[in-house]
Symmetry: C2
Subunit: 279 residues, 2 copies
Amino acid sequence: MRVYQGKDEIRQSLRESRQGLKVGFVPTMGALHEGHLSLVERCKTECDLCVVSIYVNPAQFGPSEDLGKYPRNLDKDLELLSKRGADLVFFPDDVQMYPPGYRTWIDVEGLSEKLCGASRPGHFRGVATVVLKLCNIVRPDSMYMGLKDFQQIVVLERMLKDLDCETRIVRCPIIREEDGLALSSRNAYLEPDERLRAISLSQALKMAREQVASGTRDSAALIEEASKTVSAAGGTIDYIKIVDADTLEDVAMVNENSRMLLAVFMGKTRLIDNCALGI
Amino acid sequence: MRVYQGKDEIRQSLRESRQGLKVGFVPTMGALHEGHLSLVERCKTECDLCVVSIYVNPAQFGPSEDLGKYPRNLDKDLELLSKRGADLVFFPDDVQMYPPGYRTWIDVEGLSEKLCGASRPGHFRGVATVVLKLCNIVRPDSMYMGLKDFQQIVVLERMLKDLDCETRIVRCPIIREEDGLALSSRNAYLEPDERLRAISLSQALKMAREQVASGTRDSAALIEEASKTVSAAGGTIDYIKIVDADTLEDVAMVNENSRMLLAVFMGKTRLIDNCALGI
């Protein structure tokens, strides 16, 4: 009889009877853009098998949100994924994911209620639950996620660690349009004038980085400046915060682990963006 | 590129690159008795590898419950498991299972608040969370659990299904003392006179089965009779219910899927037992 106290050790022992291809996973809601495809490419370079899921998860949308009109184009998505060399694609339907009688939910307490979670109650509960389900189906070694959804990454990393999942998240850079707008499937909602004014989000972040580089450390001053930039472009601020990148708690003075996060409505479209304020 | 809509199909595809020994798992809180050991034996007959965990999970005890005095005897447990041929034993400590910053919890809504969950708020949240963690570490094909904790089995089966875990629960019969008392680590708390009177739980169940066999279908009448039996023995009833075995909802008339569940204090010790009321 072999006896273990360490979870790493017992896992290793069990794993030895499993043979190993490295499985990479890119969970998406479809309407794929170059941001998603950059994740697929990274996944392919680092893994033996690249698995992509396409699923517009109803559990992460609030009752007044854009579930119904969220862009869907499966044929085009499959064509893009095939061209980029994805190995497996998974596109389940709602009955498969949430069959009648479904009643199990994951809460990552303390990280889920802040920032986007304050504006979108239940959002991260839905995200955490569907990602755990997908991970249990695909069992990836690595999951590739874009830093644009920064809070999502923090919530999911915590969940995977707390629940002893072996999947690790690979944090991938935000992909931007030439003028700086972070790619998002929701950019398709923007009217032409909103599209132009939407660059104010990345401009505000860039200015904050420059101010920090010039010596500013006071979060309130940086946030005030960013707010002016976004407001001047006609954006309605949901939040602009400077937080610790691990705890997501507000920080009064910028340090090497601080990040600026913002959520802004341009017309009816809610956009998010963020950046490190590296010192 | 291979494309899947079915989770079973994509899983199968992924599994083909995994080689397979059948892994069986018996999660316990230690203080092992013949009930636990019957699970180990069943596991050994049905699986290639028999994994047993011993962990007194603080998350499933309420603040006023018996976490501190719960019986612990690791040396004896290991000796028993070795004799019975367990292959791997896992006994993590609290820091490993709930490290600083831990904040992720599983809720199985609707099934967790009833019956024992009503008397023990948060109990099944703690049970569901630790069992998911253990399953993620051990990755068993089958998990062996005793029917004595019937609600626990229903909650966990729902969780495993909802979260797309591949582990299946094997429901194993309740092991009893010769006089009918269901084996439990908590029986060690009973004073000699309480031990004698504790047989009233299984007696009440037996009577209910006999009444059903004689044609009684009315739940209220059956529950009243069972309550008299337990009360006459000096037990303080927490609950006596007849429920649907899948939904755990009360049923007014007994049918083929009904089960009687009871929780009774003998002195300070809370005992549970249950049986099918098969027609």
